[in-house]
């Protein structure tokens, strides 16, 4: 009986470990280029259009961001890895004049309120960042985790997708070629 329990323990720990490790291994942190910008969700594809409403009832569409790179963060206000990532992004934003690229924070928990989004932006983001909530966009972009990030170039082509917590050191290699 003890052996059974021990085996179950080991199997469960192994499964947890493999699942966790595979996150790092299969993480789609890619920056490849493609020549055909077909619409899709892979790096090199033209990103699908979206239409969102911000907390101040402003309409936000993909075309708003044409001409500058766009960093999209799928998150929720309580997601701590996302908060740290946003602070790192804000630091990078400041160091590049605060106007070199756009940021869209896309909240995906429908129980959260507009005031929470605005508070979050004040605490972790910057005034000129866009915030909105739209569960459908998260679904259309196949978001599976909070902290999923997309980067579009100035033409709306997807250049980077990532699900790991955003470290400061990883922002420059992604954004600087697009600025």
């Amino acid at each position: 009986m003890f052996m059974n329990t021990k085996i179950i323990d080991l199997v469960m720990l192994a499964v947890i470990f493999i699942v966790t490790m595979s996150n790092g291994i299969v993480n789609p942190s890619i920056s490849a280029q493609t020549s055909k910008p077909n619409e899709g969700l892979d790096v090199g594809n033209k990103a699908p259009d979206f239409k969102l409403m911000g907390p101040l009832k402003e309409i936000i569409t993909k075309s708003n961001f044409t001409g500058k790179p766009l960093f999209i963060f799928f998150t929720a206000t309580y997601c701590t890895p996302c908060q740290i990532g946003a602070q790192n992004l804000a630091k990078y934003d400041d160091e590049h004049g605060g106007n070199a690229f756009n940021v869209l924070i896309e909240f995906i928990d429908d129980k959260e309120t507009d005031n929470q989004f605005l508070d979050w932006k004040k605490q972790f983001g910057r005034d000129d960042w866009y915030v909105a909530r739209d569960i459908d966009m998260a679904s259309n972009y196949h978001v599976q985790f909070l902290d999923t990030k997309y980067v579009f170039d100035k033409d709306g082509i997807i250049r980077w997708i990532d699900i790991k917590p955003l470290e400061y050191a990883s922002i420059g290699p992604v954004l600087s070629p697009l600025l």
């Binding site: 003890f2 323990d9 309580y78 599976q144």
Partner: protein, 154 residues
């Protein structure tokens, strides 16, 4: 109580297991990101209810394994084979205890909306894990008085 006796017998083991369980999430996560411990401590600070429950869960986990090992070696009447529920409680607390939607354990297995839902219920799952571990300690005889066990042994 056998639980107390077990902890007195192996205090370092109990403490190591409790501390190990407490830090197991950031340790595993550190393979994936250098921000693992920063995320962990911020989570503890921002979610005090979850933090208190997770600390209690970790301490009970340390106690459970200690009394389980103690029972195997020195208790003839203890039901050491009935410890599977403790493993279930451990896995439940470990995987759903903090933020399933933020971390990757559950996110790979279920849709985002479901993991967000589970995140909101994390304190309930932690309470369930604590209850399961307490039940497992009971099953392995941890709450029995030492005199009863000694009478049985003699």
């Amino acid at each position: 109580m056998r639980l107390i006796e077990a902890i007195k017998d192996k205090p370092i083991l109990a403490a190591t297991l409790a501390i190990g369980m407490f830090f197991v999430i950031p340790i595993i996560q550190s393979f994936n990101t250098s921000l693992a411990f920063e995320i962990w401590f911020r989570d503890l600070y921002q979610k005090p209810l979850n933090s208190v429950l997770y600390i209690a869960f970790s301490i009970l986990f340390g106690m459970f394994i200690t009394v389980y090992l103690h029972s195997r070696s020195s208790c003839i009447d203890c039901k050491t084979g009935k410890a599977k529920s403790g493993v279930a409680g451990t896995v439940l607390g470990f995987m759903i205890g903090v933020c399933p939607a933020c971390f990757s354990f559950i996110g790979f297995l279920i849709p985002l909306t479901a993991s967000i839902f589970l995140t909101t219920l994390a304190p309930i799952f932690l309470l369930a894990s604590i209850a399961i571990i307490l039940y497992s300690i009971f099953r392995v005889g941890g709450f029995k008085s030492i005199s009863v066990n000694r009478e049985l042994e003699s």
